[in-house]
C-alpha cells in the first residue's frame, strides 16, 4: 500500500471543510493546529482557503493521559492562541488520527482557555484505530495499517507522509 501525497488531499479537504462550515453557518472559524504536523496541515488549509486568519497552536504534552508512562517531552512548546476561545467556532486540525487520545487531550486543553461554541475536527489521515469515540468531520484519507506500523508527516514544505515500522519488543 502506498501512502497518499498530502498535496493531492488538501484541495478536497479544503472544499469539504468549506461546505461543512457553510452547512453549520459558521462565518468566522478560528483555526487551531496541534503541534507539529497539525500546525503544518492547518497552515496548508488556510492557504488553500485563501484565509489570512491567525492560527492557534496547541501543544498537548501537559494533557496527555500517558504522561506517567512516557514522561514529558523535553521540548514542549508553549501553546499560543492569538484569539479568545470563549464562544468561538474552532477548527481543530491534526495530521494523523489514530487512537483519539491526542484529540481528547487537545479538547481538554482548549476548554481550559474557555468554552468554544463548537469544535470541528479535521485530520489529514484517519488510521481507523480509535480507542475513544472521536471522529473527524473532515478527513483526507482513511488508512488501515499493520499493528507495528505508524505514519509520520514530514514538513512543513513540502508535506510528505512516511511509513515507520516499530521495533519489535
Amino acid at each position: 500500500m502506498t501512502l497518499p501525497d498530502p498535496a493531492a488531499l488538501l484541495p478536497r479537504m479544503a472544499a469539504e471543510l468549506k461546505r461543512h462550515l457553510q452547512t453549520h453557518r459558521i462565518d468566522t472559524p478560528r483555526f487551531v493546529g496541534i503541534h507539529t504536523g497539525g500546525v503544518w496541515v492547518a497552515q496548508a488549509l488556510l492557504a488553500a482557503l485563501g484565509s489570512e486568519e491567525p492560527l492557534g497552536m496547541l501543544d498537548v504534552s501537559f494533557y496527555r493521559d500517558d504522561f506517567t508512562q512516557s514522561g514529558l517531552h523535553p521540548q514542549v512548546r508553549p501553546s499560543a492562541l492569538p484569539f479568545e476561545v470563549e464562544g468561538q467556532h474552532l477548527v481543530l486540525v491534526d495530521d494523523v488520527l489514530m487512537t483519539g487520545r491526542t484529540v481528547r487531550a487537545a479538547l481538554n486543553e482548549l476548554f481550559d482557555y474557555g468554552r468554544p461554541a463548537s469544535v470541528t475536527l479535521v485530520c489529514l489521515l484517519d488510521l481507523d484505530a480509535r480507542e475513544l469515540p472521536i471522529r473527524p468531520d473532515v478527513v483526507g484519507q482513511t488508512l488501515s495499517l499493520a499493528p507495528d506500523e505508524r505514519v509520520k508527516l514530514l514538513g512543513p514544505a513540502p508535506l510528505a507522509l512516511e511509513r515507520q515500522v516499530l521495533a519489535p519488543l
Partner: protein, 338 residues
Amino acid sequence: MTPNDAKRPLQLNDQGQLRHFLSLDGLSRELLTEILDTADSFLEVGTRAVKKVPLLRGRTVCNVFFENSTRTRTTFEMAAQRLSADVITLNVSTSSTSKGETLFDTLRNLEAMAADMFVIRHADSGAAHFIAEHVCPDVAVINGGDGRHAHPTQGMLDMLTIRRHKGGFENLSVAIVGDILHSRVARSDMLALRTLGCPDIRVIGPKTLLPAGLEQYGVRVFHDLAEGLRDVDVVIMLRLQRERMQGGLLPSQGEFYRLYGLSTARLALARPDAIVMHPGPINRGVEIESAVADGTQSVILNQVTYGIAVRMAVLSMAMSGQTAQRQLNSESTSEEQI
C-alpha cells in the same frame, strides 16, 4: 540492583531521568537545560484563564517544612496546584516534632497517607538527601532548601531569569554579592552557572562571609564591591540574615550597606543593561537600596513568577522519573520470576 548503582547519583533513575531533586551538584548541562525548557513552557500556563494542567491529577504532594518560609512554600504549593495535584503543607517545626516525634516517625506517617512526593525544607544541610535515602522508594523528594547546602529550585529559577533576560550563559559576567558563607542560594547558583557554561562568575563579599575553597566552583573572588561589579551583566544580591549580625561576622548593618549594599551609583558600574536579582525577602537599606530594588533593572518580581514555572517543571519531571523507575523495577521483577 545493577552494577552501576553505586555510581549513579541518588536523584537520577536508571534511565538518567530526574527522580529526586536534591542538589544541582553532578547534574548535567543537558538535564539543567531540559528543566529550563520545560519551565519555559509552563510559564504560558500562568497566563491562561484556567491556570492548571492535569499532569499530576490524583497525586498528592506534601510540603514538609521544618523551617519557616513563606515565599518558597507558597510557590511550591501553587506549582503543585497548577499541576492539579492535591497539596498538603505541614509546618513540622510547630507541630509533631515539638511533641517529641522523630523525623522518621513523621515521614512514615506521611507515607502511610499515600503521599507521592515530599518537598522538604530543613535547617540542617543534607536533610533532603537523608530523607530521599530512607523514604519509601515510590516517593519523590524535592529539596526546598537545606541548611547552608543547597536550594536547587531557587538556583534553577535564577537560571531561568538570567536566560530569559540575557538569552543564554556563554558570554555573561555574573556577580553574586553578600553573605556567601551562609547562602545555599549562592552555592546552587555557582554550580548551575558553571554547568551551564557561564565564563565569568564573581563572588563579592567581606572575608568573614566568604567560605574557604571557593575555587572549586570556578569563581573569581572580590572583596571590593566596585571592582567586582565592573561591567557585569547580572548582579545577584543575597539576603543578609540579621541574626548573623550578633555573631561577630559583621560590625553592623550600616557598615555592611556602606561597603556591600547595592545603590544606584554602584549599579552604574555594571553594564547599562545589567539585571538585578535577589532571592527575597529583601532587606531594604541593608543589602539593596529601594530605588534599585524597585528600579527598571530589577527583575526580582519576575523571579517569583519564574519560580512557580521552575517548580512545576521539577515536580512533574521528578514524578515522571519516579514512575518510570517503578515500571522498570516491576518489569525487572517480572523477568526474574519468569
